[in-house]
């Protein structure tokens, strides 16, 4: 920078006049860098804590046991640390949620983007996005006190806590994310592509399904991936409505703990710092982080692979 100042007047006097400009530019730059660094450092810090505490955990429990044991009883005298028990709850509840949210969100997005007139869209979209702003604890009690009793009318065997009811409500919670992001992606498809489809004699539905959806696929995939990450990371609905007992099951009508609800349960208790029960939080957290990381990488890859060039 100072080297530039010495010969700047030969290029343009105006650029050299205000020496303070360089200083203030640099300060701004430093400020912006600091702002960016906060989020990066937070991530690094979280990963560091999870990994370092998990190392202590894995010094006491072998990774093979962690991955293959079929019981999760870290607080019992006969302690078992089979993470698959919690993973199964997370997978089943997420699966139920996505089975609701992906079709519903996509259909809503297609409707809003391709069928609804602008008046309907202007009213419907903010309301839909409002749904995404409801605190998840409210959804949790909705699942426990409304959805579960209704489901029990259809499935009398259903227990008071179940992955099914929590998953369904979690799906409803995720719908606005998918619908909103997918609608943005579909609206970004240029009109010329739609005109081309209509000019070939296609109907609205055919155009939407065969031209607009494929064209917006990377955006749709990104919204699905985000939805998966949200489902896997969702805590309160499951803590309230799915029951918290660890249960290795693939049956959604059973109660089970998920990785997140287990962490809540243990973190709220008063386990001594450094005990094996306390360390399980970090091992479970690291597992959760790895799962979401896999999906984020998958999402990035999908985006890159199906990037549109219109």
């Amino acid at each position: 920078m100072s080297a530039n100042n010495s010969d700047a007047h030969t290029v343009s006097d105006r650029l050299a006049k205000n020496a303070m400009r360089n200083v203030s530019e640099r300060m701004i730059e430093a400020l912006l860098l600091a702002a960016a660094a906060v989020s990066v450092l937070t991530t690094v810090g979280i990963v560091y804590v999870l990994v370092s505490e998990s190392i202590h955990f894995f010094q006491q429990v072998s990774i093979v046991d962690f991955l293959t044991d079929t019981q999760w009883t870290p607080l019992f005298d006969d302690a078992h640390f089979g993470i698959m028990v919690l993973v199964s709850g997370t997978v089943v509840s997420s699966f139920v949620a996505l089975a609701v949210a992906i079709p519903m969100g996509t259909i809503i997005a297609i409707y809003l983007s391709e069928f609804a007139n602008s008046k309907v869209r202007e009213i419907a979209k903010p309301i839909l996005e409002l749904l995404g702003g409801i605190p998840t604890i409210v959804f949790g009690y909705f699942a426990l006190l409304v959805v579960t009793p209704v489901l029990q009318l259809i499935l009398p065997e259903l227990p008071g806590f179940s992955l099914l009811s929590a998953g369904l409500v979690m799906g409803i919670m995720i719908v606005p994310y998918i619908a909103s992001l997918s609608e943005d992606a579909m609206r970004a498809v240029p009109m010329s592509l739609r005109e081309g489809a209509y000019a070939m004699g296609s109907t609205r539905l055919y155009t939407a399904l065969h031209v607009v959806v494929p064209a917006a696929f990377s955006g749709l995939a990104a919204s699905y991936i985000l939805a998966i990450s949200r489902a896997v990371g969702e805590t309160m609905i499951l803590a309230v409505a799915a029951g918290m007992q660890p249960n290795l099951t693939w049956n959604p009508t059973e109660p089970a703990a998920t990785i997140t609800s287990y962490i809540v349960q243990v973190a709220l208790g008063d386990l001594p710092h450094g005990s094996i029960g306390y360390l399980t939080i970090f091992a479970a957290g690291l597992t959760l982080l790895l799962i979401t990381l896999v999906f984020n990488i998958l999402g990035q890859w999908l985006r890159a692979k199906f990037r549109e060039n219109y």
Binding site: L193, G196, M200, G201, F217
Partner: protein, 259 residues
């Protein structure tokens, strides 16, 4: 204009008016489109030539607030394309269109061409293979793509994409093919290829082409219409329009004094 000199009619605009909301974009247009001929629409920007072209396949129906008055008669069955009773989808089944910017669908080369056939319910693989090949040959692009029909259409060059779009429109055997400035996004070599193709295609299909380029109109068309401010100023054989235009405004435009 002597009737007996002229070839058969494919379509005819009769007292056609068009409104974008309150704005009148086409003013009382009367014009014949002759069968198996190329008709060029020329005129300065905003003169309504694209608006006119897009009336033939009811493209304006896609947007709210647009309104037609008058008729576009389509022969031999004498259907009024603009009649509210006529389904725009039926119209588009008979009238194909190629756009200003190549707009291949995000699908393979093969599926782009098969698109219109699939819309019409054709799913027989052998029929599709046959018609796709025939259409790609018609679009003068078969030799370039025959070994990579499953590649994405977006990997083709701009000129190839445009010829693919022509093949896509041809696959369903339209009776009338609309070209909306098909070469304005292309380089001179790709443009020459498209022009040659248009010349070749008129054996099979009636063509209506909007162009900004007067040399192009002179090169490819049999008939030319000059439009200005939503009005049809002059229509006639291309040779006559370019050599001795009857209207002062046409002459000004063609000779470059205006436009």
């Amino acid at each position: 204009m002597q009737i007996h000199d002229n070839p058969a009619l494919k379509a005819e605009a009769r007292n056609l008016n068009f409104y974008y909301g309150e704005a009148k974009a086409l003013k009382n247009i009367n014009m014949p489109i002759y069968d198996k001929k190329v008709t060029a629409l020329i005129g300065p920007s905003g003169c309504g030539k694209s608006t006119y072209l897009r009336s033939f396949n009811r493209m304006h129906d896609l947007y709210p607030g647009n309104r037609y008055e008058g008729e576009i008669r389509f022969f031999p069955d004498n259907t009024n394309l603009l009649s509210p009773e006529v389904d725009p989808i039926e119209v588009r089944m008979r009238v194909g269109m190629v756009f200003q910017k190549p707009n291949p669908f995000p699908k393979s080369i093969y599926e782009n061409v098969a698109y219109g056939l699939r819309v019409r319910g054709e799913n027989n693989k052998r029929v599709l293979d046959d018609k796709v090949e025939h259409a790609l040959k018609g679009g003068a692009i078969w030799d370039e793509v025959k070994d990579r029909l499953q590649d994405l259409a977006s990997n083709l060059s701009g000129g190839q994409q445009q010829r693919l779009c022509i093949a896509r429109a041809l696959a369903t055997d339209p009776e009338l093919l609309l070209f909306d400035e098909p070469t304005s996004a292309l380089d001179p070599i790709a443009t020459a290829a498209i022009e040659e193709l248009v010349h070749e295609l008129k054996k099979r299909v009636t063509i209506l082409i909007v162009t900004h380029n007067m040399q192009q109109a002179a090169r490819v068309s049999d008939y030319t219409a000059y439009m200005f401010l939503g009005e049809m100023i002059e229509f006639g054989k291309t040779d006559e329009i370019f050599i001795k235009p009857q209207d002062k405004r046409t002459e000004d435009y063609i000779t470059g004094r205006m436009g």
